[in-house]
Amino acid sequence: MIGVELFKLFRRPRTWITAGLICALPLIVAIFVATTHLVPPPGQGSAFLSAVLQDGQLYPAAALALVLPVFLPVAVAIVAGDSIAGEATGGTLRYLLARPVGRTRLLVAKLIAVIAFVLFAIVAVTLTSYATGVLILGPSRAAAVGESPGSGISGSIAPGAGGAPTAGLSAGGAVTSLSGAPLTVLQLAERVIGTVAFITVSMLGVAAIALFLSTVTDSAIGAAMGALATLVGSEVLVTLNAAAVVQPYLPTRYWLAWIDFFRQPILWRDIDRGFGIQAVYVVVFLGAAWANFATKDITA
Protein backbone atom coordinates (compact mmCIF):
# COMPACT_ATOMS: atom_id res chain seq x y z
CA MET A 1 0.00 0.00 0.00
CA ILE A 2 2.88 2.34 0.79
CA GLY A 3 4.40 1.62 -2.60
CA VAL A 4 1.04 2.30 -4.23
CA GLU A 5 0.74 5.65 -2.46
CA LEU A 6 4.28 6.67 -3.44
CA PHE A 7 3.55 5.67 -7.03
CA LYS A 8 0.38 7.75 -7.01
CA LEU A 9 2.23 10.72 -5.46
CA PHE A 10 5.05 10.77 -7.97
CA ARG A 11 2.90 10.00 -11.00
CA ARG A 12 0.80 13.07 -10.30
CA PRO A 13 1.80 16.11 -12.34
CA ARG A 14 0.82 18.25 -9.34
CA THR A 15 3.69 16.89 -7.23
CA TRP A 16 6.26 17.95 -9.79
CA ILE A 17 4.66 21.31 -10.49
CA THR A 18 4.55 22.12 -6.76
CA ALA A 19 8.17 21.09 -6.27
CA GLY A 20 9.12 23.10 -9.33
CA LEU A 21 7.44 26.21 -7.96
CA ILE A 22 9.08 25.76 -4.57
CA CYS A 23 12.46 25.54 -6.26
CA ALA A 24 11.69 28.48 -8.55
CA LEU A 25 11.27 31.04 -5.78
CA PRO A 26 14.88 30.83 -4.51
CA LEU A 27 16.04 30.93 -8.12
CA ILE A 28 14.16 34.17 -8.74
CA VAL A 29 15.51 35.66 -5.51
CA ALA A 30 19.03 34.59 -6.45
CA ILE A 31 18.78 36.30 -9.82
CA PHE A 32 17.66 39.55 -8.24
CA VAL A 33 20.33 39.39 -5.56
CA ALA A 34 23.04 38.56 -8.07
CA THR A 35 22.10 41.41 -10.41
CA THR A 36 21.51 44.12 -7.82
CA HIS A 37 23.71 42.99 -4.92
CA LEU A 38 21.03 44.40 -2.66
CA VAL A 39 20.29 42.26 0.36
CA PRO A 40 18.65 42.97 3.71
CA PRO A 41 21.16 43.93 6.39
CA PRO A 42 22.06 41.16 8.83
CA GLY A 43 19.37 40.61 11.42
CA GLN A 44 16.59 41.80 9.15
CA GLY A 45 14.67 40.10 6.38
CA SER A 46 15.18 36.54 5.41
CA ALA A 47 17.82 34.58 7.28
CA PHE A 48 21.20 33.93 5.67
CA LEU A 49 20.44 36.14 2.72
CA SER A 50 23.12 38.65 3.62
CA ALA A 51 25.72 35.89 3.73
CA VAL A 52 25.13 34.43 0.30
CA LEU A 53 26.83 37.26 -1.50
CA GLN A 54 30.08 36.14 0.07
CA ASP A 55 29.53 32.49 -0.58
CA GLY A 56 27.02 30.99 -2.96
CA GLN A 57 27.45 27.64 -1.25
CA LEU A 58 25.42 28.96 1.65
CA TYR A 59 22.48 29.65 -0.58
CA PRO A 60 20.61 26.40 0.30
CA ALA A 61 20.23 27.67 3.87
CA ALA A 62 18.90 30.98 2.62
CA ALA A 63 16.60 29.18 0.19
CA LEU A 64 15.12 27.02 2.95
CA ALA A 65 14.57 30.12 5.03
CA LEU A 66 12.77 31.67 2.06
CA VAL A 67 10.36 28.81 1.31
CA LEU A 68 9.71 27.66 4.88
CA PRO A 69 7.34 30.37 6.10
CA VAL A 70 4.81 30.21 3.24
CA PHE A 71 5.61 28.09 0.20
CA LEU A 72 6.44 24.81 1.84
CA PRO A 73 3.53 24.84 4.33
CA VAL A 74 1.09 25.66 1.52
CA ALA A 75 2.37 22.75 -0.55
CA VAL A 76 2.28 20.36 2.41
CA ALA A 77 -1.22 21.48 3.40
CA ILE A 78 -2.46 20.90 -0.14
CA VAL A 79 -0.91 17.44 -0.44
CA ALA A 80 -1.99 16.31 3.04
CA GLY A 81 -5.41 17.93 2.78
CA ASP A 82 -5.99 16.12 -0.48
CA SER A 83 -4.86 12.74 0.83
CA ILE A 84 -8.19 11.36 2.11
CA ALA A 85 -10.66 14.02 0.96
CA GLY A 86 -9.30 13.87 -2.59
CA GLU A 87 -9.87 10.12 -2.75
CA ALA A 88 -13.36 10.64 -1.33
CA THR A 89 -14.21 13.27 -3.95
CA GLY A 90 -12.85 11.13 -6.76
CA GLY A 91 -14.82 8.13 -5.49
CA THR A 92 -11.70 5.98 -5.26
CA LEU A 93 -11.79 5.93 -1.44
CA ARG A 94 -14.71 3.49 -1.33
CA TYR A 95 -12.99 1.17 -3.79
CA LEU A 96 -9.75 1.24 -1.81
CA LEU A 97 -11.58 0.43 1.42
CA ALA A 98 -13.63 -2.29 -0.25
CA ARG A 99 -10.50 -3.73 -1.86
CA PRO A 100 -9.92 -4.05 1.21
CA VAL A 101 -7.31 -1.67 2.55
CA GLY A 102 -7.58 -1.26 6.32
CA ARG A 103 -8.46 2.27 7.32
CA THR A 104 -5.49 2.60 9.69
CA ARG A 105 -3.22 1.21 7.01
CA LEU A 106 -4.49 3.68 4.46
CA LEU A 107 -3.96 6.56 6.86
CA VAL A 108 -0.38 5.43 7.61
CA ALA A 109 0.36 5.04 3.89
CA LYS A 110 -0.98 8.53 3.24
CA LEU A 111 1.16 9.93 6.05
CA ILE A 112 4.27 8.25 4.69
CA ALA A 113 3.52 9.63 1.24
CA VAL A 114 3.25 13.12 2.74
CA ILE A 115 6.58 12.66 4.55
CA ALA A 116 8.10 11.51 1.27
CA PHE A 117 6.75 14.62 -0.41
CA VAL A 118 8.20 16.89 2.30
CA LEU A 119 11.62 15.24 2.06
CA PHE A 120 11.45 15.36 -1.71
CA ALA A 121 10.61 19.07 -1.67
CA ILE A 122 13.32 19.94 0.88
CA VAL A 123 15.99 17.93 -0.91
CA ALA A 124 14.93 19.43 -4.24
CA VAL A 125 15.18 22.95 -2.78
CA THR A 126 18.54 22.20 -1.21
CA LEU A 127 20.05 20.75 -4.39
CA THR A 128 18.67 23.28 -6.84
CA SER A 129 19.53 26.20 -4.59
CA TYR A 130 23.05 24.85 -4.12
CA ALA A 131 23.42 24.75 -7.87
CA THR A 132 21.84 28.19 -8.13
CA GLY A 133 24.13 29.55 -5.46
CA VAL A 134 27.29 28.22 -7.03
CA LEU A 135 26.36 29.11 -10.60
CA ILE A 136 24.66 32.47 -10.15
CA LEU A 137 26.10 33.86 -6.96
CA GLY A 138 29.50 32.28 -7.40
CA PRO A 139 31.43 29.97 -5.12
CA SER A 140 33.08 32.64 -3.00
CA ARG A 141 32.87 36.36 -3.20
CA ALA A 142 34.61 37.14 0.05
CA ALA A 143 37.55 38.62 -1.79
CA ALA A 144 35.41 40.62 -4.15
CA VAL A 145 33.35 42.03 -1.30
CA GLY A 146 36.49 42.88 0.57
CA GLU A 147 37.79 44.86 -2.37
CA SER A 148 34.76 47.10 -2.39
CA PRO A 149 34.01 47.92 1.22
CA GLY A 150 31.75 50.81 0.27
CA SER A 151 29.27 48.66 -1.56
CA GLY A 152 26.73 48.71 1.24
CA ILE A 153 27.02 45.07 2.16
CA SER A 154 30.12 45.28 4.24
CA GLY A 155 28.04 44.61 7.33
CA SER A 156 27.67 41.04 6.28
CA ILE A 157 31.37 40.44 6.27
CA ALA A 158 31.50 40.30 10.03
CA PRO A 159 30.09 36.87 10.81
CA GLY A 160 27.53 36.75 13.54
CA ALA A 161 27.36 40.49 13.94
CA GLY A 162 24.70 41.28 16.47
CA GLY A 163 23.76 37.61 16.73
CA ALA A 164 22.06 37.89 13.36
CA PRO A 165 21.83 34.88 11.12
CA THR A 166 24.75 35.33 8.85
CA ALA A 167 27.70 33.19 8.00
CA GLY A 168 30.76 33.52 5.92
CA LEU A 169 33.68 31.71 4.46
CA SER A 170 36.93 31.87 6.37
CA ALA A 171 40.21 32.24 4.61
CA GLY A 172 40.95 28.55 5.00
CA GLY A 173 37.87 27.58 2.98
CA ALA A 174 35.89 26.07 5.87
CA VAL A 175 32.35 27.30 6.44
CA THR A 176 32.01 29.35 9.58
CA SER A 177 29.10 29.12 11.95
CA LEU A 178 26.89 32.06 12.76
CA SER A 179 28.91 32.42 15.93
CA GLY A 180 32.08 32.82 13.99
CA ALA A 181 33.82 29.54 14.82
CA PRO A 182 34.67 27.38 11.82
CA LEU A 183 32.79 24.14 11.14
CA THR A 184 34.34 21.00 9.78
CA VAL A 185 32.73 19.29 6.82
CA LEU A 186 31.46 16.51 9.12
CA GLN A 187 29.90 19.03 11.49
CA LEU A 188 28.33 20.82 8.58
CA ALA A 189 26.87 17.58 7.22
CA GLU A 190 25.46 16.72 10.65
CA ARG A 191 23.88 20.11 10.93
CA VAL A 192 22.37 20.00 7.46
CA ILE A 193 20.83 16.62 8.31
CA GLY A 194 19.59 18.09 11.58
CA THR A 195 18.06 21.00 9.66
CA VAL A 196 16.30 18.72 7.20
CA ALA A 197 14.98 16.63 10.11
CA PHE A 198 13.77 19.70 11.97
CA ILE A 199 12.00 21.18 8.96
CA THR A 200 10.48 17.78 8.14
CA VAL A 201 9.10 17.49 11.64
CA SER A 202 7.79 21.06 11.48
CA MET A 203 6.02 20.25 8.22
CA LEU A 204 4.69 17.03 9.78
CA GLY A 205 2.82 19.22 12.26
CA VAL A 206 1.17 20.97 9.30
CA ALA A 207 0.55 17.63 7.60
CA ALA A 208 -1.09 16.17 10.72
CA ILE A 209 -3.53 19.09 10.96
CA ALA A 210 -4.36 18.89 7.24
CA LEU A 211 -4.68 15.10 7.37
CA PHE A 212 -7.11 15.32 10.27
CA LEU A 213 -9.23 17.90 8.42
CA SER A 214 -9.00 15.69 5.34
CA THR A 215 -10.77 12.89 7.23
CA VAL A 216 -13.45 15.31 8.46
CA THR A 217 -14.49 16.82 5.15
CA ASP A 218 -14.83 15.41 1.65
CA SER A 219 -13.49 18.66 0.21
CA ALA A 220 -9.74 18.60 -0.37
CA ILE A 221 -9.57 22.35 -0.75
CA GLY A 222 -11.50 22.80 2.49
CA ALA A 223 -9.03 20.65 4.40
CA ALA A 224 -6.03 22.49 2.93
CA MET A 225 -7.55 25.88 3.63
CA GLY A 226 -8.40 24.86 7.18
CA ALA A 227 -4.80 23.86 7.87
CA LEU A 228 -3.50 27.07 6.29
CA ALA A 229 -5.94 29.18 8.30
CA THR A 230 -4.55 27.53 11.44
CA LEU A 231 -1.00 28.42 10.39
CA VAL A 232 -1.82 31.99 9.42
CA GLY A 233 -3.60 32.45 12.72
CA SER A 234 -0.59 31.05 14.52
CA GLU A 235 1.79 33.35 12.63
CA VAL A 236 -0.30 36.38 13.56
CA LEU A 237 -0.30 35.43 17.23
CA VAL A 238 3.44 34.72 17.22
CA THR A 239 4.14 38.35 16.33
CA LEU A 240 1.56 39.73 18.75
CA ASN A 241 3.08 40.68 22.08
CA ALA A 242 -0.32 40.53 23.78
CA ALA A 243 -0.53 36.84 22.96
CA ALA A 244 2.71 36.01 24.76
CA VAL A 245 0.90 33.58 27.06
CA VAL A 246 0.02 31.14 24.28
CA GLN A 247 3.05 31.72 22.07
CA PRO A 248 5.14 28.79 23.32
CA TYR A 249 2.33 26.44 22.24
CA LEU A 250 1.74 27.78 18.74
CA PRO A 251 2.68 25.44 15.88
CA THR A 252 4.74 28.04 14.02
CA ARG A 253 6.51 29.47 17.08
CA TYR A 254 9.78 27.53 16.62
CA TRP A 255 9.69 27.03 12.87
CA LEU A 256 12.89 29.00 12.28
CA ALA A 257 14.74 27.49 15.24
CA TRP A 258 16.75 25.31 12.83
CA ILE A 259 18.92 28.38 12.26
CA ASP A 260 20.41 27.57 15.65
CA PHE A 261 21.97 24.45 14.10
CA PHE A 262 24.40 26.82 12.42
CA ARG A 263 25.66 28.31 15.67
CA GLN A 264 28.71 27.00 17.46
CA PRO A 265 27.95 25.33 19.78
CA ILE A 266 24.44 24.45 18.66
CA LEU A 267 21.83 26.37 20.60
CA TRP A 268 19.54 23.48 21.55
CA ARG A 269 16.90 25.28 23.60
CA ASP A 270 14.53 26.36 20.79
CA ILE A 271 15.34 23.33 18.67
CA ASP A 272 14.30 21.00 21.47
CA ARG A 273 11.15 22.98 22.11
CA GLY A 274 10.38 23.00 18.39
CA PHE A 275 10.71 19.23 18.18
CA GLY A 276 8.61 18.89 21.33
CA ILE A 277 5.74 21.10 20.27
CA GLN A 278 5.60 19.53 16.80
CA ALA A 279 5.57 16.05 18.35
CA VAL A 280 2.56 17.06 20.44
CA TYR A 281 0.72 18.43 17.39
CA VAL A 282 1.54 15.36 15.34
CA VAL A 283 0.40 12.94 18.03
CA VAL A 284 -2.80 14.83 18.86
CA PHE A 285 -3.93 15.45 15.29
CA LEU A 286 -2.93 12.06 13.91
CA GLY A 287 -4.74 10.46 16.83
CA ALA A 288 -7.81 12.54 16.07
CA ALA A 289 -7.53 11.69 12.37
CA TRP A 290 -7.30 8.00 13.14
CA ALA A 291 -10.17 8.06 15.63
CA ASN A 292 -12.37 9.94 13.18
CA PHE A 293 -11.49 7.98 10.06
CA ALA A 294 -11.69 4.54 11.65
CA THR A 295 -15.24 5.12 12.85
CA LYS A 296 -16.55 7.16 9.96
CA ASP A 297 -19.33 6.14 7.58
CA ILE A 298 -17.93 6.38 4.05
CA THR A 299 -20.80 7.87 2.10
CA ALA A 300 -18.80 9.62 -0.59
Binding site: K8, R11, L96
Partner: protein, 333 residues
Protein backbone atom coordinates in the same frame (compact mmCIF):
# COMPACT_ATOMS: atom_id res chain seq x y z
CA UNK B 1 -23.47 -15.82 1.01
CA UNK B 2 -25.07 -12.68 2.45
CA UNK B 3 -27.27 -12.74 5.52
CA UNK B 4 -28.43 -9.76 7.53
CA UNK B 5 -30.54 -9.81 10.66
CA UNK B 6 -32.61 -6.83 11.81
CA UNK B 7 -30.13 -4.53 10.07
CA UNK B 8 -30.85 -0.89 10.85
CA UNK B 9 -29.03 2.31 9.97
CA UNK B 10 -30.01 5.73 11.23
CA UNK B 11 -28.49 8.99 10.00
CA UNK B 12 -29.54 11.37 12.74
CA UNK B 13 -33.31 11.05 12.86
CA UNK B 14 -33.61 9.55 9.42
CA UNK B 15 -33.93 5.79 9.29
CA UNK B 16 -32.21 4.91 6.02
CA UNK B 17 -32.39 1.14 6.49
CA UNK B 18 -34.83 -0.41 8.90
CA UNK B 19 -34.74 -3.97 10.24
CA UNK B 20 -33.68 -5.62 6.99
CA UNK B 21 -33.30 -9.39 6.87
CA UNK B 22 -31.56 -10.01 3.58
CA UNK B 23 -30.78 -13.52 2.45
CA UNK B 24 -28.66 -14.16 -0.61
CA UNK B 25 -27.85 -17.83 -1.21
CA UNK B 26 -24.87 -19.28 -3.01
CA UNK B 27 -25.45 -19.33 -6.74
CA UNK B 28 -28.18 -16.69 -6.68
CA UNK B 29 -28.48 -13.84 -9.08
CA UNK B 30 -30.11 -11.56 -6.58
CA UNK B 31 -31.69 -8.30 -7.61
CA UNK B 32 -32.34 -5.64 -5.01
CA UNK B 33 -35.03 -3.34 -6.30
CA UNK B 34 -36.28 -0.12 -4.85
CA UNK B 35 -37.19 3.41 -5.75
CA UNK B 36 -34.58 6.18 -5.48
CA UNK B 37 -33.74 6.92 -1.88
CA UNK B 38 -35.13 3.63 -0.60
CA UNK B 39 -31.83 2.75 1.10
CA UNK B 40 -30.26 0.47 -1.52
CA UNK B 41 -26.91 2.19 -1.58
CA UNK B 42 -26.70 2.47 2.21
CA UNK B 43 -27.47 -1.25 2.46
CA UNK B 44 -24.80 -2.13 -0.13
CA UNK B 45 -22.26 0.04 1.68
CA UNK B 46 -23.03 -1.66 4.96
CA UNK B 47 -22.46 -5.07 3.36
CA UNK B 48 -19.00 -3.90 2.30
CA UNK B 49 -18.08 -2.39 5.68
CA UNK B 50 -18.05 1.20 4.39
CA UNK B 51 -21.00 2.33 6.48
CA UNK B 52 -21.42 1.02 10.01
CA UNK B 53 -24.81 -0.31 11.03
CA UNK B 54 -26.68 1.27 13.92
CA UNK B 55 -27.88 -2.18 14.98
CA UNK B 56 -28.29 -5.64 13.56
CA UNK B 57 -25.92 -8.25 12.17
CA UNK B 58 -24.29 -8.78 8.79
CA UNK B 59 -22.64 -11.99 7.64
CA UNK B 60 -20.98 -12.09 4.22
CA UNK B 61 -19.15 -15.21 2.97
CA UNK B 62 -19.35 -16.55 6.51
CA UNK B 63 -17.57 -13.53 8.03
CA UNK B 64 -19.07 -10.96 10.33
CA UNK B 65 -19.08 -7.47 8.85
CA UNK B 66 -17.55 -5.05 9.67
CA UNK B 67 -15.42 -6.90 12.30
CA UNK B 68 -13.95 -9.44 9.87
CA UNK B 69 -14.55 -7.51 6.65
CA UNK B 70 -10.86 -7.93 5.84
CA UNK B 71 -11.36 -11.68 5.47
CA UNK B 72 -14.45 -11.53 3.29
CA UNK B 73 -13.69 -8.57 1.04
CA UNK B 74 -10.77 -10.09 -0.93
CA UNK B 75 -13.27 -12.59 -2.38
CA UNK B 76 -15.80 -9.90 -3.28
CA UNK B 77 -15.84 -7.80 -6.40
CA UNK B 78 -17.70 -4.56 -5.93
CA UNK B 79 -19.11 -1.74 -7.99
CA UNK B 80 -20.42 0.94 -5.66
CA UNK B 81 -22.55 3.59 -7.35
CA UNK B 82 -20.47 5.07 -10.14
CA UNK B 83 -17.12 3.54 -11.01
CA UNK B 84 -14.09 5.59 -9.95
CA UNK B 85 -10.52 5.71 -11.19
CA UNK B 86 -7.54 8.03 -11.11
CA UNK B 87 -8.22 10.16 -14.19
CA UNK B 88 -4.60 10.85 -15.17
CA UNK B 89 -3.65 7.15 -15.31
CA UNK B 90 -4.55 4.56 -17.91
CA UNK B 91 -7.17 1.89 -17.27
CA UNK B 92 -4.52 -0.81 -16.86
CA UNK B 93 -2.50 1.32 -14.44
CA UNK B 94 -5.64 1.87 -12.39
CA UNK B 95 -6.36 -1.85 -12.20
CA UNK B 96 -2.71 -2.56 -11.27
CA UNK B 97 -2.79 0.03 -8.49
CA UNK B 98 -6.05 -1.21 -7.02
CA UNK B 99 -4.88 -4.80 -7.17
CA UNK B 100 -1.57 -3.94 -5.52
CA UNK B 101 -3.27 -1.91 -2.79
CA UNK B 102 -4.83 -4.81 -0.93
CA UNK B 103 -4.43 -8.48 -0.08
CA UNK B 104 -5.33 -11.47 -2.21
CA UNK B 105 -3.87 -10.23 -5.48
CA UNK B 106 -0.67 -12.10 -6.29
CA UNK B 107 1.87 -9.96 -8.11
CA UNK B 108 2.90 -12.92 -10.27
CA UNK B 109 -0.54 -13.41 -11.81
CA UNK B 110 -1.52 -9.73 -11.85
CA UNK B 111 -0.88 -9.01 -15.49
CA UNK B 112 -2.75 -12.11 -16.65
CA UNK B 113 -5.69 -11.44 -14.34
CA UNK B 114 -5.99 -7.85 -15.50
CA UNK B 115 -5.91 -8.83 -19.16
CA UNK B 116 -8.54 -11.50 -18.52
CA UNK B 117 -10.82 -9.04 -16.70
CA UNK B 118 -10.43 -6.42 -19.44
CA UNK B 119 -11.24 -8.99 -22.08
CA UNK B 120 -14.34 -10.13 -20.20
CA UNK B 121 -15.80 -6.63 -20.10
CA UNK B 122 -14.88 -5.88 -23.70
CA UNK B 123 -11.96 -3.55 -23.09
CA UNK B 124 -9.15 -5.86 -24.24
CA UNK B 125 -8.07 -3.40 -26.91
CA UNK B 126 -7.73 -0.27 -24.76
CA UNK B 127 -4.55 1.68 -25.27
CA UNK B 128 -2.59 3.90 -22.89
CA UNK B 129 -5.17 6.68 -22.93
CA UNK B 130 -5.80 8.13 -19.47
CA UNK B 131 -9.15 7.32 -17.90
CA UNK B 132 -10.25 10.97 -18.17
CA UNK B 133 -10.53 10.40 -21.92
CA UNK B 134 -12.90 7.44 -21.45
CA UNK B 135 -16.59 7.57 -22.25
CA UNK B 136 -19.14 6.87 -19.52
CA UNK B 137 -19.72 3.38 -20.86
CA UNK B 138 -15.99 2.62 -20.92
CA UNK B 139 -15.65 3.76 -17.31
CA UNK B 140 -18.52 1.51 -16.32
CA UNK B 141 -16.81 -1.41 -18.05
CA UNK B 142 -13.52 -0.56 -16.37
CA UNK B 143 -15.29 -0.50 -13.01
CA UNK B 144 -16.66 -3.97 -13.71
CA UNK B 145 -13.20 -5.14 -14.76
CA UNK B 146 -11.85 -3.87 -11.43
CA UNK B 147 -14.48 -5.97 -9.67
CA UNK B 148 -13.45 -9.07 -11.65
CA UNK B 149 -9.65 -8.83 -11.37
CA UNK B 150 -9.39 -11.09 -8.33
CA UNK B 151 -11.85 -13.67 -9.71
CA UNK B 152 -14.28 -13.11 -6.82
CA UNK B 153 -16.80 -15.60 -5.45
CA UNK B 154 -19.33 -12.86 -4.89
CA UNK B 155 -20.09 -9.79 -6.97
CA UNK B 156 -21.79 -6.85 -5.31
CA UNK B 157 -22.88 -4.43 -7.98
CA UNK B 158 -24.72 -1.19 -7.39
CA UNK B 159 -26.53 -0.13 -10.59
CA UNK B 160 -24.22 -1.98 -13.00
CA UNK B 161 -26.14 -0.87 -16.09
CA UNK B 162 -25.58 2.87 -15.53
CA UNK B 163 -24.25 4.74 -18.50
CA UNK B 164 -24.33 1.76 -20.84
CA UNK B 165 -26.17 1.65 -24.14
CA UNK B 166 -28.59 -1.24 -24.84
CA UNK B 167 -25.79 -3.23 -26.44
CA UNK B 168 -23.58 -2.70 -23.39
CA UNK B 169 -26.38 -3.67 -21.01
CA UNK B 170 -26.89 -6.89 -22.94
CA UNK B 171 -23.13 -7.61 -22.90
CA UNK B 172 -22.98 -7.11 -19.15
CA UNK B 173 -26.07 -9.25 -18.59
CA UNK B 174 -24.57 -12.08 -20.65
CA UNK B 175 -21.29 -11.73 -18.76
CA UNK B 176 -23.00 -11.89 -15.38
CA UNK B 177 -25.03 -14.95 -16.39
CA UNK B 178 -21.85 -16.63 -17.66
CA UNK B 179 -19.97 -15.84 -14.43
CA UNK B 180 -22.94 -17.02 -12.40
CA UNK B 181 -23.06 -20.36 -14.18
CA UNK B 182 -19.35 -20.70 -13.35
CA UNK B 183 -20.26 -20.42 -9.67
CA UNK B 184 -20.11 -16.70 -8.91
CA UNK B 185 -22.95 -15.38 -6.79
CA UNK B 186 -24.25 -12.07 -8.10
CA UNK B 187 -25.92 -9.46 -5.93
CA UNK B 188 -27.01 -6.32 -7.70
CA UNK B 189 -29.11 -3.35 -6.89
CA UNK B 190 -31.10 -1.50 -9.47
CA UNK B 191 -34.15 0.60 -9.99
CA UNK B 192 -34.61 -0.82 -13.50
CA UNK B 193 -37.29 -3.50 -13.31
CA UNK B 194 -36.66 -4.80 -16.79
CA UNK B 195 -32.97 -5.30 -16.06
CA UNK B 196 -33.65 -7.24 -12.88
CA UNK B 197 -36.39 -9.41 -14.36
CA UNK B 198 -34.17 -10.26 -17.33
CA UNK B 199 -31.17 -11.19 -15.20
CA UNK B 200 -32.08 -12.22 -11.68
CA UNK B 201 -33.31 -15.41 -10.12
CA UNK B 202 -34.23 -13.84 -6.80
CA UNK B 203 -35.62 -10.45 -6.02
CA UNK B 204 -35.72 -8.28 -2.93
CA UNK B 205 -37.69 -5.06 -2.84
CA UNK B 206 -36.64 -2.22 -0.60
CA UNK B 207 -39.07 0.57 0.21
CA UNK B 208 -38.41 3.36 2.69
CA UNK B 209 -35.57 1.33 4.15
CA UNK B 210 -37.66 -1.79 4.70
CA UNK B 211 -37.38 -5.04 2.82
CA UNK B 212 -41.01 -5.42 1.77
CA UNK B 213 -40.52 -8.46 -0.41
CA UNK B 214 -37.93 -11.20 -0.86
CA UNK B 215 -38.82 -14.06 -3.16
CA UNK B 216 -37.60 -16.04 -6.15
CA UNK B 217 -38.55 -14.54 -9.46
CA UNK B 218 -40.15 -17.81 -10.60
CA UNK B 219 -42.40 -17.78 -7.54
CA UNK B 220 -43.39 -14.16 -8.12
CA UNK B 221 -44.19 -14.76 -11.76
CA UNK B 222 -45.85 -18.15 -11.41
CA UNK B 223 -49.30 -18.52 -12.96
CA UNK B 224 -52.09 -16.83 -11.07
CA UNK B 225 -54.55 -19.65 -11.82
CA UNK B 226 -56.31 -17.58 -14.43
CA UNK B 227 -56.32 -17.81 -18.19
CA UNK B 228 -56.63 -14.90 -20.58
CA UNK B 229 -58.78 -15.73 -23.59
CA UNK B 230 -59.44 -13.62 -26.66
CA UNK B 231 -62.33 -14.71 -28.85
CA UNK B 232 -64.94 -13.24 -31.20
CA UNK B 233 -67.44 -15.66 -29.70
CA UNK B 234 -67.28 -14.10 -26.27
CA UNK B 235 -71.02 -14.59 -25.63
CA UNK B 236 -70.86 -18.31 -26.32
CA UNK B 237 -67.75 -18.72 -24.24
CA UNK B 238 -69.39 -16.81 -21.43
CA UNK B 239 -72.37 -19.17 -21.50
CA UNK B 240 -70.15 -22.21 -21.70
CA UNK B 241 -67.85 -21.22 -18.84
CA UNK B 242 -70.63 -19.99 -16.63
CA UNK B 243 -69.31 -18.85 -13.26
CA UNK B 244 -65.66 -19.21 -14.21
CA UNK B 245 -65.31 -15.94 -16.11
CA UNK B 246 -64.12 -13.29 -13.73
CA UNK B 247 -64.20 -10.37 -16.09
CA UNK B 248 -65.13 -9.58 -19.63
CA UNK B 249 -64.06 -6.67 -21.73
CA UNK B 250 -65.19 -6.98 -25.35
CA UNK B 251 -63.44 -10.01 -26.82
CA UNK B 252 -61.15 -10.37 -23.77
CA UNK B 253 -62.07 -12.78 -21.00
CA UNK B 254 -60.36 -13.56 -17.70
CA UNK B 255 -61.19 -17.15 -16.85
CA UNK B 256 -60.49 -18.85 -13.52
CA UNK B 257 -58.93 -22.13 -14.63
CA UNK B 258 -55.46 -23.52 -13.79
CA UNK B 259 -55.17 -25.46 -17.08
CA UNK B 260 -55.03 -23.36 -20.28
CA UNK B 261 -54.51 -26.41 -22.54
CA UNK B 262 -57.65 -28.15 -21.23
CA UNK B 263 -59.66 -24.94 -21.45
CA UNK B 264 -58.52 -24.39 -25.00
CA UNK B 265 -59.52 -27.94 -26.02
CA UNK B 266 -62.90 -27.50 -24.40
CA UNK B 267 -63.61 -24.14 -26.06
CA UNK B 268 -62.51 -25.33 -29.47
CA UNK B 269 -64.47 -28.54 -29.01
CA UNK B 270 -67.59 -26.45 -28.48
CA UNK B 271 -66.91 -24.43 -31.61
CA UNK B 272 -65.63 -21.28 -29.88
CA UNK B 273 -63.00 -19.65 -32.08
CA UNK B 274 -60.03 -18.79 -29.88
CA UNK B 275 -57.82 -15.97 -31.20
CA UNK B 276 -55.32 -16.19 -28.37
CA UNK B 277 -55.05 -17.94 -25.05
CA UNK B 278 -52.41 -17.58 -22.35
CA UNK B 279 -51.79 -18.23 -18.70
CA UNK B 280 -52.01 -15.09 -16.67
CA UNK B 281 -48.70 -14.20 -14.97
CA UNK B 282 -47.98 -11.18 -12.91
CA UNK B 283 -45.21 -8.89 -14.12
CA UNK B 284 -42.45 -7.84 -11.80
CA UNK B 285 -43.65 -4.29 -12.24
CA UNK B 286 -47.06 -5.12 -10.83
CA UNK B 287 -45.54 -6.93 -7.88
CA UNK B 288 -43.15 -4.09 -7.11
CA UNK B 289 -45.71 -1.31 -7.52
CA UNK B 290 -48.05 -3.22 -5.25
CA UNK B 291 -45.57 -3.50 -2.38
CA UNK B 292 -43.90 -0.07 -2.63
CA UNK B 293 -45.15 3.42 -1.93
CA UNK B 294 -44.04 6.56 -3.69
CA UNK B 295 -40.31 7.08 -4.08
CA UNK B 296 -38.73 9.18 -1.37
CA UNK B 297 -37.73 11.78 -3.92
CA UNK B 298 -41.43 12.62 -4.02
CA UNK B 299 -42.79 14.85 -1.34
CA UNK B 300 -46.35 15.56 -0.38
CA UNK B 301 -49.32 13.55 -1.62
CA UNK B 302 -50.37 10.19 -0.26
CA UNK B 303 -48.09 7.21 -0.90
CA UNK B 304 -44.93 8.49 0.71
CA UNK B 305 -46.48 9.14 4.10
CA UNK B 306 -48.37 5.88 4.49
CA UNK B 307 -46.72 3.37 6.82
CA UNK B 308 -44.72 0.80 4.84
CA UNK B 309 -46.28 -2.61 4.67
CA UNK B 310 -44.62 -5.53 6.46
CA UNK B 311 -42.66 -8.15 4.49
CA UNK B 312 -44.90 -10.54 2.66
CA UNK B 313 -44.91 -12.86 -0.27
CA UNK B 314 -47.84 -12.27 -2.57
CA UNK B 315 -49.38 -15.58 -3.52
CA UNK B 316 -51.72 -16.38 -6.38
CA UNK B 317 -54.56 -17.04 -3.92
CA UNK B 318 -54.56 -13.38 -2.91
CA UNK B 319 -54.08 -11.54 -6.16
CA UNK B 320 -53.81 -7.82 -6.48
CA UNK B 321 -57.04 -5.98 -7.28
CA UNK B 322 -56.43 -5.74 -10.98
CA UNK B 323 -54.00 -8.35 -12.29
CA UNK B 324 -53.17 -8.02 -15.91
CA UNK B 325 -51.56 -10.58 -18.16
CA UNK B 326 -48.28 -10.34 -20.00
CA UNK B 327 -48.96 -9.07 -23.46
CA UNK B 328 -52.68 -9.13 -22.84
CA UNK B 329 -53.44 -5.66 -21.70
CA UNK B 330 -57.14 -5.37 -20.96
CA UNK B 331 -58.16 -1.84 -21.93
CA UNK B 332 -59.95 0.02 -19.21
CA UNK B 333 -59.59 -2.76 -16.68
Amino acid sequence: MITTRALTKRFGHVEAVCSVGLEVREGDRYGLLGPNGSGKTTLVRMLLGLVYATSGEITVLGQRIPRHAGRALPDIGALIEEPAAYPHLSGRANLRLLDAAGPGGSRRTRRARIEEALERVGLAGIDRRPVKAYSLGMRQRLGLAAALVRRPRLLVLDEPGNGLDPRGIKDIRDLLIELNSAGVTVFLSSHLLGEVSALCTRVGVLDHGRLVLQESLAELQKPTGRVLVETQDAERALALLDGHVERRDGPHLVVRDPDPAGLNARLVGEGVRVASIAQQRRTLEEVVLEVTGAGSDQFGGGGGTSPPSPPRSPSPSTPSPSPRGTGHEVPGA
